[in-house]
Symmetry: C2
Subunit: 477 residues, 2 copies
């Protein structure tokens, strides 16, 4: 028990009181005929939060998406089902339009996988918990086997060079740095191993790579994710191994430097497949040709449910439209929910969307992406082209007091991958920023399931985004 209930009761009275007395930014409005007085900003925002917390549609949607469909890599049957499912959900919401925007996407499929290591003195190989990296080439049917060279530093890789790496398997084992407070920074400083490791090793004649999973926790979940081949060098197979497997492998190599690694992968890249971005919108009453976008990505990796990444962002984006409609607010601008296809391994959906928007001259006053997990909201980050950023950000900062009752901070920097191709159109870009401590326990793994998402945390995020959309529409930039 924390505190006595009397103190808490007094505190809650204080909070209710301060909520009622919060009138900064609220505008006096004349009551419409025959109706109750319009809500002020504080009331309307509070109502959207209340609706989300009492009647959590995003959470129910996420349950349906995760448990009835599950993971949904671009080009897969799951992705196709998710497109149809999300369109049908949007269709029930009384929006002004719902449609599918066609886009061709990469189509990579996982196959048989077996990764192991065997020291000379061992009678049997040890299986390493592993997943092929997305986009990896497969191996010959019997796999590949070679001694393993552990690398924790690019300089060391370059120094060892062809002499030490030719014919070998490179094992990248530089951990994410736990001292970053925001775990995305730690990810950003380690993920180069996963993205570029294969080609940088192939340059020196290596025949395969194993990459320590992008995670802070030591456990046995391998974390997949995209790689990028440099076509200058041979395309060699690449897998992620769990952090536990990486620790054990590193220990083994210390005493058995000639241990032999084996990788067998049946994965392959098929021809591009047709797919869709899924879009729903509430048409603006005054400036229908100006847009505020809120979106996440519908595709996921092909393990788990893609619950935090990014089922959460999809259902939160849908929730924004629901909350705005339920509030009775009539937006001036068109509010669009976009569920992007193919963020994980191509960004084709984001590029297609931006190309279409540019072709039609659709000015996006702001695009908000939610793709950092369904955890407790901490704030929003904003960016834009340099020429417009300062003006925008001053307007944004003026909205800060509205978010204080909800513990949110509006900061510079950080938006999202899917909306990044809109940057050239000189609108404001925004990334929803939830708490990041647990995100890399789940990211791109079989552990990223519905049950890992907390109902209140998810819903607070949807309501926070609805509040931001409302304020940006009402006050402009």
């Amino acid at each position: 028990m924390r505190n006595l209930e009397k103190n808490n009761f007094k505190k809650s009275l204080l909070i209710v009181f301060s909520t009622l007395s919060f009138s900064l930014f609220s505008q006096a409005q004349s009551p419409a005929e025959g109706r109750a007085a319009p809500k002020n900003d504080q009331q309307l925002i509070r109502e959207m939060y209340n609706t989300a917390l009492r009647d959590p549609a995003a959470y129910r949607w996420l349950e349906s998406l995760c448990l009835n469909i599950g993971h949904r890599l671009s080009g897969s049957p799951g992705a196709e089902k998710a497109v149809q499912w999300s369109k049908s959900m949007l269709d029930t919401m009384g929006l002004d339009s719902v449609w599918l925007q066609p886009v061709m996407v990469p189509h990579w499929v996982r196959g048989e996988e077996m990764v192991s290591v065997k020291a000379k003195n061992q009678s049997k190989a040890q299986v390493l918990s592993a997943l092929a990296l997305g986009g990896s080439v497969g191996t010959p049917a019997n796999g590949i086997s070679a001694p393993i060279v552990e690398i924790n530093d690019w300089d060391v890789l370059d120094k060892i060079g062809e002499q030490g790496l030719k014919g070998k398997i490179v094992f990248y084992n530089r951990p994410m740095d736990p001292t970053y407070i925001r775990t995305f920074e730690a990810y950003g400083c380690a993920v180069d191993q996963r993205v570029h490791g294969a080609s940088r090793a192939a340059k020196y004649g290596a025949i395969g790579v194993m990459v320590r999973s992008m995670a802070l926790r030591i456990d046995d979940f391998p974390h997949t994710g995209t790689l990028r081949y440099d076509s200058t060098y041979p395309l060699i197979p690449a897998v992620a191994i769990s952090t536990l497997a990486a620790e054990n492998l590193s220990d083994l190599l210390k005493t058995n430097p000639d241990a032999v690694g084996s990788i067998k992968l049946g994965c392959k890249t098929l021809p591009d497949a047709p797919s869709f971005n899924v879009i729903g919108e509430i048409r603006g009453s005054e400036k229908p040709d100006e847009f505020i976008l809120v979106g996440g990505h519908l595709d996921s990796w092909d393990v788990g449910h893609g619950a935090h990444d990014d089922g959460a962002g999809c259902v939160q984006s849908m929730e924004v439209l629901r909350l705005l409609k339920a509030s009775g607010y009539k937006p001036k601008r068109t509010i669009r929910c976009v569920l992007f296809m193919n963020e994980e391994n191509g960004l084709r959906g984001g590029r297609q969307y931006a190309a279409e928007a540019e072709r039609k001259g659709e000015y996006h006053l702001c695009a908000i992406e939610t793709d950092a997990g369904g955890f407790t909201p901490r704030g929003f980050g904003f960016e834009a082209e340099e020429s417009v950023f300062q003006t925008f950000f001053e307007k944004v900062k003026a909205l800060q007091p509205h978010f204080e009752p909800y513990g949110l901070v509006l900061t510079k920097g950080g938006s999202g991958a899917d909306i990044s191709p809109l940057r050239g159109m000189k609108g404001l870009l925004c990334g929803y920023s939830p708490d990041s401590q647990r995100y890399f326990d789940f990211h791109h793994t079989a552990a990223d399931i519905f049950e890992a998402v907390h109902e209140r945390e998810l819903e607070l995020g949807g309501a926070s985004m609805a509040a931001l959309v409302y304020l940006l529409d009402k006050y402009g930039l």
Copy 2:
């Protein structure tokens, strides 16, 4: 995947840069002879965070406390073991003193428990997932059985009165309000049912009570917790039933208003038992007779591991001393870690500590309590006697910039139960405030186990408190 690694890498460079350039409040100090230049505030705080995140002692201590000892209700063998364990841990830390402060505590023990309901048309009673409330009297050996009256409002209870309640079991079923953003507020507005429900029902002749668990989630974990009897009325047995059981019972009563509830409890209160607060301190170099206290409570309820409530707070408080010592900082004041006994059902430890402090004239410049779970830190709340609060809080607010890299906010209001008896000594009282969304999923249940605490979230809390203690000691109030 969120963002491309290049963007993240740029962002992290920016963060590193802004960290390095953060010099507000740091004081120029002349290098001591033959040693490296003393660290500035920013560096010292950053180092304490780094130590906590790289080498998480609090998390390892929590594992040991939870898995080797487990729950530890006042007067129980677990509580005795926890006293010895925590003293032995503090003894290894190279502190200036470690000791046990004797205190007599209530000694309530749970016994056999069976709670059920049976509608007339049912052949078999349905068992309700339940736990006796702490301090409840037991029932006769065969239990009690009576029709159930559901109450959601005190006014209704008073209106129904003796005529409707005499000989009945009262079922309190007013849920926690999900629309509070901080869940402690929702708890504060609902827990009166658990604390006062038994006596308020007994006043009208009821023979027992069932209380809906204090939780926001619908699940099958009953949440125990303390009750307070008003000795004016008969002492009647009281249990908490899970939120799921409460929902089901309420549904059943709608169609079967004459359903009969049964409660059988073997719990009882034994004579007060001897126990201890566990205290360790680093002696101040300049003002050894002035104190900064950081503490949590060592006792827990008698289910689960008491991991969030309040094993987390205990190990974080110990971590504060470890981090300060590891940093090389020599505090001016005495920094004391106090693991209070009996917060849950008596507050005897907190009262004893304050009485001793007053007797010895030990002025506590600040007492910080951590008893709100081991989740991601959000900030600190401060309170004090009115005559001194404003002066203190202005000094505190000046420390805010130090906490911005860590996402913490310093606010008015809210400290902790164990330190509340120190209020009369006119020091500053402070409550550590982590994210509250998940807390009432675990609070006082069998689900409050070690595995429910996240290593980074726990450690960030310990480091945040160490930073606050350091700054308060260095700059005073």
